[in-house]
Amino acid sequence: MFKKVSASKGKIVTIYFEGQPVQTEEGMTVAAAVLDPSHGWSRTSHGGQKRGPYCQMGVCHECLMTIDGIPNQQACLTMVVEGMQVYRQDGAPDFHKENSHE
């Protein structure tokens, strides 16, 4: 649903979204890097609705994801790092399962 109109200048890195490799570039935020593979949704509300990043600047908290095992991370403020594991957040985070994706 979003396309590249200009190549970034950073080097290519691979991150994993829901376990699947995604090629992206250094300097990208996680929210931008997974916009396409995630079909624009990053988490579910606690009532189960699909939500996607709304503001891309850290205000709305709709892009909260589990990044490298830590829930509640603002994907629009987190920069991609080689090998990063990114999962959608399902409702409110379950702290008993905090590291379940590791």
Binding site: M1, F2, K3, K4, V5, S6, A7, S8, K9, G10, G27, M28, T29, A32, L35, H39, G40, W41, S45, H46, G47, Q49, K50, R51, G52, P53, Y54, C55, Q56, M57, G58, V59, C60, H61, E62, L64, I70, N72, L77, M79
Partner: protein, 461 residues
Amino acid sequence: MSSVWDVIIVGAGPAGMSAAIETARHGLSTLVVDRQNEPGGQIYRSVGSSPMSGKLGSDYAAGLPLVKRFLECGAQFEAGANVWDIAPDRVYYSQQGKSRFVRARQVLLATGAMERPVPLPGWTLPGVMGSGASDVLLKSAGLLPEGPVVLCGNGPLILQAAVHLSHFKVPVAGVLLTGRLGNALRAMKHAAGALARPGYFLHGVSMAAKTLLKQKCVMGVRDVAISENGQGLDVSFATQGGKRKNLSASTVLLHEGVISESRITRLARLRHAWDQTQRYWHVDATVWGQTSAPGLRTAGDTVTVRGAVAARAEGSLVGLDICRELGRLPLADRDREARPFLRTLKRCNALQPFLDEYFAPTPSMLQPHPDAIVCRCEELTAGDLNAVIREGCYSPDGLKAQARPGMGTCQGRICGQAVVEMIADAHGLPLENLPLYTAQPPLFPLRLGELIEMPSPSDLL
């Protein structure tokens, strides 16, 4: 270890960078913290590394020399630093999962502005975002929606978004303008002021003309609702004549103007004022950024939304006055150095009433449909909240206590403004009597472990 800086500046946008250039140039130790990874703020977002450098026009390109000067000015820059509490001499921030606090003789809050969230049915669906969000993706990542796109709202930035989309040949299904048709007439009494910045004014007129001529614009749009249709999104709306129409889109970009991001200044309990035309709360400050709390200053769109040119001038003025206050610049020198910035600010201030009136939000747009989710975090609709408001709730804090809006992770940034409008409308209260939710630390969700690991202030005294 704690450290004491002469100046700590929160926010590396046009105002924060300009202030730091002045304080560092006059020999004051200056620390600048920002949530983003690079300086620039939102208007000059990623301008130092953007894949779109040189492709987004002169307004954006103007940020590049400023960022360069800032990075070379001698101020220390801490990126990815999320400020979550503030005191006149102290700033607490979280960086890479660790929190600390730093002390300063003067603190400048230059946290800028945000798009006014205007709840409407379906605005929580994936594929709907702020037009500013799309702009951030374009600047920082070179990404644009594939289209068809529906733009909906009011304000100069929606015209700019339409121009960008058409420049990159993204199919636009429609530009739905929600401004009142009478705004242009009301703005005319400020037309003389608009000519204080003829270049800027003509730039705006040309953007408007391009949008109106090239895109399918509908004026005076009302009652917008977005729904899923299996393939994408449906945008349903009423025209000025009351006819209902429908457009299909893969992406919907909403924009109802820009308001000060006042959570940090409210957290500091600074005195605020209500802007009657643009309808938002902003911190009350002098031209030198002095607030109701000595030692705590503000600059840029945090004070009043006037855009990057004004924010740069204001940042420079505040920087110069901090130098005076801390004994680095005699009053006469401050006044002399301030002159060009005061002139710029005067021209910006002369134009602003025209823009504010022309793009004034439409009050009926600010009263959400009962089905619209107002608090995205707690999934509360306008219908849910209005039931409690009508029972006898007269303040946002009271509503928060009774019905939970503002209790989620965004802590009321998104629903706060909407709730003020709803309470005012239901009870016929003047908006200036309705403050936003009380802001509490931490300003952003933090891990408990991070708080526990932080050195306590008493350990360091």
